[in-house]
């Protein structure tokens, strides 16, 4: 078969995976971060089952009820209620869904675009490389946060717009990292063999280069997951992200300001803690993956 020897060589990069997986058990395995991330995902998935109340509808008579263990709290609203009498626990549970969806989709879309452009830039070289890298450089020079806010202000608040905006801001890193990887991979034997065997450029990029750069992209995606979640929360907090009355954590913090001066701490502390816990877990996992998979990425 055309280029079968070549493809079996590149497959060996994947075959080494079990050995790498064995390394998972050794040192500093981030068990707690993974457990937290898994929990958040499960909560997001089963939000309808887990949430005791409708997150978007409240009873005005129950406004600013404190968590159950404080005076005036009720078991019915375990973590209290907000300024519209909505159940904080239910909002946090549904908020996990928004954070997970936005965070994952952003890193996947950005990772896809960036990896695609990075592979093309690195493998095709010449003017393709020049054009893509000049655009990447120029894009990197733009102020990310401000630019995202601007885009959000124009496009208007919605979950899908947030995803588009953040993906548009975050793809550049992948392009840079993947391109650098491709430059070294393309000189390896199995790629040369595939070229000699007459594989088309598309086939080589898809079957021989992609499997070898995908690790780096995954590490980067994990590291950026936290950044994407913070960015979403920031946009939502400013009122240009997830539109009310949806229960995004950033939006809850914005609402929480209304009760802050009266000392209604739970509206500020709880959503922020959720963000921090999730971002911290993603960062710890990403750091660990980076050291395990990709020592070259350490200085990122």
């Amino acid at each position: 078969m055309n280029g079968s020897a070549a493809s079996s060589r590149s497959a060996s990069a994947i075959l080494t995976l079990p050995r790498r997986l064995a390394a998972f058990r050794t040192e500093g395995f981030p068990l707690i971060p993974i457990a937290i991330l898994m929990t958040v995902m499960l909560v997001a998935l089963f939000a309808n089952v887990l949430a005791p109340h409708n997150p978007e509808v409240g009873v005005l008579g129950d406004r600013f009820r404190p968590p159950a263990w404080q005076a005036n709290g009720t078991i019915d609203h375990l973590l209290g209620t907000d300024h519209l009498g909505r159940d904080v626990l239910s909002r946090l549970i549904f908020g996990a869904r928004i954070s997970v969806i936005v965070g994952l989709t952003v890193v996947i879309v950005a990772g896809f675009i960036g990896t695609l452009l990075g592979i093309m830039s690195g493998y095709l070289g010449r003017w393709v490389d020049q054009v893509i890298m000049r655009i990447t450089d120029a894009w990197l020079a733009l102020p990310g946060v401000t630019f995202a806010i601007f885009l959000a202000a124009i496009l208007g608040p919605s979950v899908s717009n947030i995803i588009i905006i953040l993906a548009a801001v975050y793809w550049t890193r992948y392009a840079r990292v993947v391109r650098a990887e491709v430059l070294s991979v393309r000189e390896r034997d199995f790629v040369r063999l595939a070229v000699v065997a007459g594989c088309s450029k598309g086939t080589i990029m898809r079957r021989h280069i992609l499997p070898n750069v995908v690790n780096s992209a995954i590490v980067l995606a994990t590291l950026q997951l936290g950044q994407a979640i913070i960015a979403e929360a920031t946009l939502s907090f400013l009122g240009v992200g997830v539109p009310p009355p949806m229960p995004a954590w950033g939006l809850m913090l914005a609402d929480g300001k209304k009760g802050m001066m009266a000392g209604y701490w739970w509206l500020t502390v709880l959503p922020g803690s959720c963000i921090m816990l999730m971002v911290l877990s993603a960062n710890l996992l990403g750091d660990w993956l980076r050291v395990k998979f990709d020592p070259q990425l350490r200085q990122l």
Partner: protein, 306 residues
């Protein structure tokens, strides 16, 4: 050297061009620009007037050229809300932003540099782990949440610090810390790695071979050298701080350009939004350019590469 600077200058221009084109196109493509540019609640006649004024009926590229020439003349339009020239408005808000950014920078360096050095000198000990945790927390807590927590604790419970506004040093403390928090973590990481680099250098080895006390080796021979990349980055970060201060300025009602952007969005004052983003972009592109040139002057290796 000259070739390198010209190349960097070209890249910077492309960045600026890309920024202006993106902003221009986004405004034209996403709906009726006249609606964006008009005051909220403008009549049909007003909209027509705006279409005339901006030549929205003409071809796209002529529109872009006139858009660009206006910008180059410093004409960013009029604010609907403040009824003044947007560029002047921006300049009037800039000092407050710079004050906040400087205070935040001072905080981040005062925290980041000592902790970074301690972490580097006592590698893999308790201090280093402590430093890592601090850096991770810095990267994992949204700055506005840090601000909200501080308001809750220092303003609401303890009543020590004002929760918003400006004017006194006390007003500056919490915004500066919440803005500087993330950067303290960043500067700590960089100080640590830069210090580790320097500690492995030949001249530090020689300093030890000379029989200098370890305290002198670190405070004299390592410290100054390790600080150079940190301070360079701090220069860039000062500009970045001005531009990412939007949330913090919003939380503390600090009257800087970030707050201006937020108001622009809240009041649908589109010329203000557009100008803030454009000028912020210009600032960042220019600073990146200056840093690249500065590096080329310092480090001869870059010159030959160009």
């Amino acid at each position: 050297m000259k070739k390198y600077i010209v190349k960097r200058l070209g890249l910077a221009l492309i960045s600026l061009l890309l920024l202006s084109i993106t902003i221009f196109l986004l405004m034209r493509i996403t709906g009726d620009p006249a609606v964006l540019l008009a005051e909220p609640g403008a009549s049909a006649a007003d909209l027509d007037a705006i279409r005339q004024q901006f030549g929205l009926d003409r071809p796209l590229w002529t529109q872009y050229v006139s858009f660009l020439t206006h910008l180059l003349r410093g004409d960013f339009g009029q604010s609907f809300y403040y009824r003044t020239d947007v560029f002047e408005l921006y300049l009037s808000r800039l000092p407050a932003s710079l004050l906040l950014a400087s205070a935040a920078m001072a905080f981040s360096l005062l925290v980041g540099i000592p902790t970074g050095i301690i972490a580097a000198v006592r590698v893999n000990q308790w201090w280093d782990s402590g430093g890592k945790i601090f850096a991770l927390l810095g990267l994992s807590m949204p700055s506005f949440w840090v601000g909200l927590l501080m308001i809750l604790f220092f303003s609401v419970y303890l009543g020590w610090l004002p929760s918003s506004g400006s004017g006194t040093v006390f007003h500056l403390v919490m915004p500066a810390i919440s803005l500087g928090w993330l950067f303290a973590a960043v500067h700590m990481r960089l100080t640590r790695s830069s210090m580790l680099d320097v500690l492995g250098s030949e001249y530090v080895k020689l300093a030890r071979l000379k029989g200098l006390p370890e305290a002198l080796v670190i405070s004299k021979h390592a410290f100054k050298n390790a600080l150079i990349p940190v301070l360079t980055l701090a220069g860039i970060n000062l500009v970045i701080m001005v531009n990412v201060a939007v949330v913090v300025e919003t939380v503390f009602a600090w009257p800087g350009v970030g707050r201006l952007l937020y108001e622009g969005i809240a009041f649908r004052d589109f010329p203000v939004v557009q100008a803030t983003v454009l000028l912020g972009g210009v600032m960042i592109v220019v600073v990146n350019l200056l840093v690249d040139i500065l590096y080329a002057v310092i480090d001869p290796r870059i010159r030959y590469e160009g």
